[in-house]
């Protein structure tokens, strides 16, 4: 039987035919993992549509839990196992030093566009000369307040935490006597997770209590200003904030706020568009301001948040994945994201974009807040950051739950962090 017999040729012909069908498209199917709040998961399809049409590739979103601590744990497992199933990871601003070895260096691919972004954001994603991830959006929290209630009680937007405490108490008591039994003064993120580190860092920093671990690596958390900040926050529990705030993450806080049951809320800018939505009880009744300061001299502090996209070095479709990362970080995609979800762009020019200013008036006002944002100590503490953060939020959570005083817990925390530091971070 010759090799060119019909029987032998049949599979070859079939393969050629299949190849002919598949070839012109050369379509890769990419998998993108991301956690999200609000409607980000819903909007993702819309966001990547132009890219899919242009390149013919498709992207599937693999949704993650909202808690960034949970996301990190899952990512670490996948990356340690070297999974090829995920091509792109959406990463928190603090993760670059911890996960850098698993991601592709994007500095070559992105050399033409890095200049458009805020240098501080690019710097936060660069570890030892390697650009680990490209920025998608940045985050700096806002104080959401009820315009109508402040007007009713003739109060100004609080400039300090003490003023906020007083105003919240006044309005809460007033409204409760008027029959609004479920109204609370202030809601925020008090669950024992990364979000509490962000909240507490803002209190401590704005009281002049430093930033837990300073950029040079010294543990600075045990000081009278930090104690004062935590004592004030602990006084909120059960008075102007429900006890349940100790289990709140972003979405639980937004739940209380958006049903009209809070005077103030500390949350990220994503909540702005949702609070202004049709189904929101606070639509048209609220506005945002920078977070209050601890003392007038120090000024307010906002924890730098934000999300980035990294390409897995285990991906088998790296070329397409890098292209998608470049698209997602581009001004075009960032503008869409700003319009859809109200996320702050990292492309400087977009802060002057009239369309964005019209749709999300918060964004142009936030350039200033963002410029003064405090980074979490993920740089100096490197691979130990998670443990530092966990110890910090545990000490804060204990203090807020009344389990030891602020002074006692911070003293213990200082000891723990110094032990953890050992001979160096």
């Amino acid at each position: 039987m010759g090799i060119f017999s019909r029987d032998a040729l049949r599979p070859v012909a079939l393969a050629a035919l299949l190849g002919a069908v598949a070839l012109p498209a050369m379509a890769d199917e990419l998998f993108y993992v991301a956690g999200g709040v609000g409607k980000q998961a819903e909007h993702f399809k819309e966001l990547v549509k132009p890219w899919e049409e242009r390149t013919g590739h498709t992207v599937t979103l693999v949704p993650m839990p909202q808690s960034s601590s949970d996301q990190f744990a899952q990512y670490r497992l996948w990356l340690a196992a070297g999974t090829e199933d995920v091509d792109l990871y959406q990463t928190d601003v603090i993760w670059a030093p911890q996960l850098s070895e698993y991601f592709v260096d994007l500095s070559q691919a992105a050399k033409d566009i890095v200049g458009e972004h805020f240098p501080s954001v690019i710097e936060s994603q660069t570890t030892e000369g390697k650009l680990v991830a490209l920025p998608l959006y940045t985050d700096a929290p806002a104080l959401y307040y009820r315009k109508d209630l402040l007007e009713k009680y003739g109060r100004d937007v609080p400039k300090t935490w003490a003023e906020l405490t007083e105003t919240a108490k006044l309005i809460q008591e007033g409204e409760r006597t008027a029959g609004q039994g479920d109204l609370w003064g202030f809601v925020w993120q008090g669950n024992a997770y990364e979000g509490l580190t962000c909240n507490a860092l803002e209190w401590v920093k704005s009281f002049g209590g430093g930033q837990i671990v300073e950029p040079d690596g010294t543990v600075s958390i045990n000081n009278p200003q930090a104690v004062a900040a935590l004592e004030l926050a602990a006084s909120w529990i059960g008075t102007i904030s429900p006890r349940g705030v100790l289990a709140h993450k972003e979405e639980e806080a937004r739940g209380v706020w958006q049903t009209g049951n809070a005077v103030f809320m500390r949350n990220w800018p994503y909540a702005f568009a949702l609070s202004a939505g049709e189904d929101s009880a606070v639509k048209g009744k609220f506005d945002v301001a920078p977070l209050p300061a601890g003392t007038a001299e120090v000024g307010s502090a906002a924890t730098l948040g934000g999300w980035n996209v990294a390409v897995s070095k285990f991906s088998t479709k790296q070329e397409a994945a890098i292209d998608l990362a470049l698209y997602l970080a581009s001004a075009e995609a960032q503008k869409r994201r700003a319009l859809l979800d109200g996320n702050l762009p990292t492309v400087v020019a977009l802060y002057d974009d009239p369309e964005i200013a019209e749709a999300v008036p918060l964004i142009p006002r936030w350039k200033e807040v963002f410029a003064n944002a405090v980074p979490r100590p993920s740089g100096p503490t490197r691979s130990k950051y998670n443990e530092v953060s966990s110890k910090f939020w545990s000490a804060v959570h204990d203090t807020l739950s009344g389990n030891g005083t602020a002074a006692e817990n911070l003293e213990l925390l200082e000891l723990d962090l110094t032990d953890l530091q050992g001979s160096g971070w």
Binding site: F72, A73, R76, A192, Y193, L246, G255, S390, D398
Partner: protein, 320 residues
């Protein structure tokens, strides 16, 4: 048992052949157990004696028992102890787990017994009730934990709403958030979920009790309470013991319910939670492995003690 063809000359006896056949029938199962139970356990123990990290799983170096306990002398001459065995967070987790296990299994046994006794009685629609009562057990823990998290939510939760309307509480309780009530919330959900399992195992035991014993007791005019303690309880004891040890094993390694339901606070962290945290979140894989090994050891001690105590009791009864 006598072997009918034993002693036949030549070749192995039937018993030997049976044993050999039995071995070959069991071999696949033994092999599977070796792969999924013995090997991972041995590997975990080995990891706990190294300095392995998650980012470098195969590059760990032998460090002996340092993850458990090590002594270091600082340059100032002060001696410090390090390791899991002197880690207060670990002992807090052990205490949380043991407390949780004893309370939850205690409640589940009593409630399960009551439910089983009810289900053992003849009444109309019994089959339906038996099926219905299993529903909490059939729901995956993650789903029921999330469901309860919403019901226990302090602001929108239905439980606070009902209690407020009934006037049983003055203000909304933050069930899962307050350190005082977090463990109670976990216990409520766990008891709700696993009582049906207990009831089912005990019911199986109850159905083994011969009916004529009850008839004899009735004819003799013995009080029902006395019948329960003198007849029912001793007869279902073996089933009860098995049910309790099953639940105890399960309760000592509780993870999912606590992880989903409560904030990550020291009030509810259990051994499994803290070991996972070290392994994954803190990149201290070997340290977490040491804690897993200790968890295994603690469970083994519990089970041996339980079996030993059970035996002693049974022996005493037999000698009566």
């Amino acid at each position: 048992m006598t072997d009918p063809i034993a002693g036949r000359a030549g070749g192995p006896s039937l018993r030997q052949r049976r044993q050999r056949a039995a071995f070959w029938f069991l071999a696949p199962m033994l092999f599977a157990l070796l792969c999924v139970a013995a090997w991972p356990l041995a590997r975990t123990i080995w990891f706990s004696l190294t300095n392995t990290t998650l980012s470098n799983l195969y590059g760990g170096e032998w460090i002996g028992f340092d993850n458990y306990l090590s002594m270091r002398t600082l340059s100032s001459g002060r001696v410090v102890w390090r390791g899991t065995l002197v880690d207060p967070a670990w002992w807090n987790a052990v205490w949380n787990t043991v407390r949780f296990s004893l309370i939850s299994v205690g409640f589940e046994t009593v409630l399960g017994l009551i439910v089983a006794l009810v289900l053992n009685a003849e009444f109309r629609g019994r089959a339906l009730v038996r099926a219905a009562i299993l529903i909490p057990w059939a729901i995956p823990t993650i789903v029921s934990a999330k469901m309860w998290a919403w019901m226990l939510n302090d602001q929108f939760g239905i439980l606070n709403d009902i209690l407020l309307r009934l006037g049983l509480i003055g203000e909304k309780i933050a069930w899962t958030a307050s350190t005082e009530t977090a463990m109670t919330a976990v216990l409520i959900v766990d008891i709700w979920k696993t009582t049906p399992f207990m009831a089912l195992l005990i019911l199986a035991g109850l159905q083994m009790v011969p009916r004529d014993i009850y008839e004899a007791a009735r004819i003799d005019g013995v009080h029902p309470v006395r019948v329960f303690f003198r007849v029912t309880l001793p007869l279902i004891k073996p089933a009860l013991m098995v049910a309790v040890i099953f639940r105890m094993l399960d309760a000592l390694r509780i993870f999912d319910l606590i992880y989903v339901l409560t904030p990550n606070s020291a009030a509810t962290k259990t051994m499994s939670v803290i070991s996972r945290e070290n392994m994954i979140d803190f990149d201290k894989f070997a340290y977490g492995a040491a804690q897993s090994t200790l968890l295994f050891a603690i469970i083994a001690v519990f089970v041996s003690a339980y079996i030993w105590l059970g035996r002693v009791d049974l022996g005493g009864e037999g000698s009566k």
